[in-house]
Symmetry: C2
Subunit: 306 residues, 2 copies
Amino acid sequence: MQGCTKTIMAQRTQCDSGSHGNRRNSMNISIIGLGLLGGSFALGLKAKGAAVSIIGVDSNTAHAAEALKRKLVDKIMPLEHAIAEADVVVLATPVNAILQLLPTVLDLLPPKAALMDFGSTKGQLCAVVETHPRRGQFVAMHPIAGTEYSGPEAAFATLLEGQTMIICEREKSDQAALARAEKLCHTLGMHLRYMPAAEHDLHFAYVSHLSHISSFALGLTVLDKEKNEKNIFDMAGSGFSSTVRLAKSSPQMWGPIFSQNRENVSEALAGYIAQLQQFKDAIDAQDEEQAKALMEKANDIRRILG
Amino acid sequence: MQGCTKTIMAQRTQCDSGSHGNRRNSMNISIIGLGLLGGSFALGLKAKGAAVSIIGVDSNTAHAAEALKRKLVDKIMPLEHAIAEADVVVLATPVNAILQLLPTVLDLLPPKAALMDFGSTKGQLCAVVETHPRRGQFVAMHPIAGTEYSGPEAAFATLLEGQTMIICEREKSDQAALARAEKLCHTLGMHLRYMPAAEHDLHFAYVSHLSHISSFALGLTVLDKEKNEKNIFDMAGSGFSSTVRLAKSSPQMWGPIFSQNRENVSEALAGYIAQLQQFKDAIDAQDEEQAKALMEKANDIRRILG
């Protein structure tokens, strides 16, 4: 860590007296997309006392104003200016916007700056800059943290603390960019994990994307049946709240995730529907032993989740 | 409440000097099935300082011993003795055992005693004692509380506090039995709701039974895919934990619930599978607008759950 810090400080000095031409004591971090993740990243760094100056960019002017009001960011700038001023750029928009922005931001990125993204998919995002001459300045990341809420008002300083940050295609990032990204994660108290992008997308289709669809579909099924029965929801237990919680999630965020991870998500959904059909068949056939056998197998999740 | 308390006190006096022939200052509550619900009911009453003496019955001798050790109950008795001594009998076993026990317990119940059940289904349970000459002594109940854990070690005093107790077929219970059951619920700080048994079973197929199957099936799907990948679960976010939590639930408890509520559960599952198929079709067709439209509709759950 000491070596890492020295490297970063050396880079900073070069950077301060170099491309930006003015001496600064803090690292400029430009966050594009001021929602739950981008906002929480900024708040977390400030809460840890990191010497950072946060520049915010958001195409939604109401979100930009709200982020400034809530002090998630120190100032708001247009995209090009924010990139020109940055030591680190963070793409924290929905993944469709990340896909569009990645090549453009790399084109505009100052030579010593690093670019990170926080997208929940990694395959298509890595592919779009695969052959970009500045690929090395990019670090493909996925913070495993979130809630069912979105927007700047959902951000809080401890969202990322103690959570996992997955880094994909580490070998394609320059040492300097990687070290800077890892240092910021360590400052936030995050654990780092590394994996290939394709493996990431397959696993997360199962342990995250499928959960969201299971919850959206549960919400739809129950709303469809109980449309005139607001009362019944007051009686629903904590089990229902727990399984349906993710149905509150943002369609603008999740639509593009399912699109980009289409093949894996479709395979996971097919498997899930087949398991549900097995339950239905057992119940319809009044085969309680078969239903119990399925549940006993599912109970193995105890061993794994504790 | 004052009137209700007086009635119960009057009954107690009759009861003490009547059928049992010995004067007691506390109400004898015999709980059959010393698991999460039965145990938490006992602990809750004791924590509220209720003058109750708890007699425990469990066909599982290890559970009976554990319940005694944890002071969920004051003593363990064989079923017939526990019923003979009772002012109130509570059936808190899985619903298949409740179905078998209900007529027998009513046959043996002292004339002034009340019988309550805590089953998650109500239709078949009410039907089996529909024409029993002592039907009036029975109060059909469903406490809307629980966790994914079971057994006496899962019980805790505050499980039922502030939660809802549903009472079905109120009109078929005698005033005295009903008043006694309601009084115990009020002592625990529970809210009372009343509904027909058929309505209860339909609603709970959607807001509870379906949630459990969605979670069991999610656990199976992910375990099936990730069988050699314990690591990936360390990386799963809180969303996955939330949706898969109920997959830890007891097959011995849930098997009989799905069997007794077979038609409603099957209909709910068919609806759920159809919703999932809609998502899959939209994703396969690369129709992101349709996927988003489904999610936006599901977001209505926000309005209802807050």
